[in-house]
């Protein structure tokens, strides 16, 4: 294999990269899991409300809470460097721009007039 060259001297700092995975905190995973399940149950019951808009809002907010719990604790984002936050933040920003830019052209349907010839 051509990749086999021994790292020459001077690369010692590379060893900084920990081989030991335990360098960030560990929350109590069971607790998180149970609260996720509770939130999940709320979502399912909330969907029985008879108002689509309300359901949408409630359900969406809970989804965001759930997703951020998974992100923060299961994925240890809470202990990750700011760089990762930035990366994910940029992804969300992209989506924000997209939704704002698309809204006026996709949602209002008043301009639809002609049926298929």
């Amino acid at each position: 294999m051509s990749a086999q060259h021994t790292p020459p001297p001077g690369l010692e700092h590379e060893v900084l990269v920990p081989q030991d995975p335990d360098y960030h905190g560990h929350p109590n995973y069971l607790k998180i899991y149970i609260s996720l399940l509770i939130l999940f149950a709320i979502t399912v019951f909330a969907s029985l409300i008879h108002s689509p808009l309300l359901v949408f809002i409630v359900v969406f907010v809970i989804s965001i809470v759930k997703a951020s719990m998974v992100l923060l604790y299961f994925m240890h984002l809470k202990w990750e460097p700011k760089l990762i936050w930035l990366l994910l933040g940029l992804a969300l920003m992209t989506l924000l721009f997209l939704i704002i830019g698309l809204y006026p052209d996709v949602v209002p349907i008043t301009r639809y007039l002609i049926p298929k010839p």
Binding site: R111, Y112, L113, I114, P117
Partner: protein
């Protein structure tokens, strides 16, 4: 200078004006940039001291010329932006009262024009249709409902500085007011298949009476 085709619509001149405005602004900026680039190239022999050369541009004092450049550019940009946006509002965001309402429908590969029949209303049974021949009265505000059947087309009237894509499924209303009589080309400006190149029509701008005669004749047919 007539690098543009002859203007025949009420707002065409304003669009040309915007072009010249921007061109002048960027021409001035361009001369400055060109000078800035060429000066050091033709002045290569001159010997500066190391201190003079070791300019890193890492503080505001050294960067001030660049900031000044950006500010000047910003002023120039916004000066034409205001004019530009007000024109845009006038042309695209507002619909002046109409004298005539027609539909322009693109299909592979021809233009279909629909005039209101004797009842004066569009989209009724007595509509009048014409293919590739558009007649409109002079000095009349014409509303066009721009539509397409199959793929995206684009109505382009160079002499009116008018362009609007025609999307299937959508009806987009734009207006135009021609101020000169004559025959003008109307072409398709969005690729739409094999005969995109041949998808063209003629607009005849004529006086009110001539126009009425034409419609009456079309209606009979």
């Amino acid at each position: 200078m007539n690098i543009f085709p002859e203007n025949a619509s009420s707002y065409g001149a304003e669009i040309d004006f915007i072009f010249w405005l921007i061109t002048i602004v960027v021409a001035v900026a361009g001369v400055v940039v060109l000078f800035l680039v060429l000066y050091p190239i033709f002045n290569r022999k001159k010997d500066y001291t190391k201190e003079q050369r070791y300019l890193k541009g890492d503080n505001f004092k050294q960067l001030r010329w660049i900031y000044l450049g950006i500010v000047l550019l910003a002023i120039a940009d916004f000066s034409f932006l205001f004019k530009e946006e007000s024109t845009w509002t006038k042309i695209e965001e507002t619909l002046p009262n109409k004298d005539l309402h027609i539909a322009v429908i693109g299909r592979q590969w021809m233009w279909e024009f629909v005039y209101p029949g004797p009842d004066g209303k569009l989209y009724t049974d007595d509509d009048v249709k014409a293919i590739n021949q558009l007649h409109i009265p002079v000095n009349a505000t014409v509303h066009m409902d721009i539509q397409a059947y199959d793929v995206i087309h684009s109505v382009f009237i160079p002499n009116a500085r008018f362009k609007q894509d025609a999307l299937p499924g959508r009806s987009i209303t734009r207006w135009v007011k021609m101020t000169k009589t004559g025959e003008y080309p109307l072409t398709c400006a969005e690729i739409c298949g094999i005969a995109h190149a041949n998808m063209k029509a003629t607009i005849t701008v004529e006086s009110e009476e001539d126009f009425n005669k034409t419609i009456a004749k079309l209606y009979k047919e």
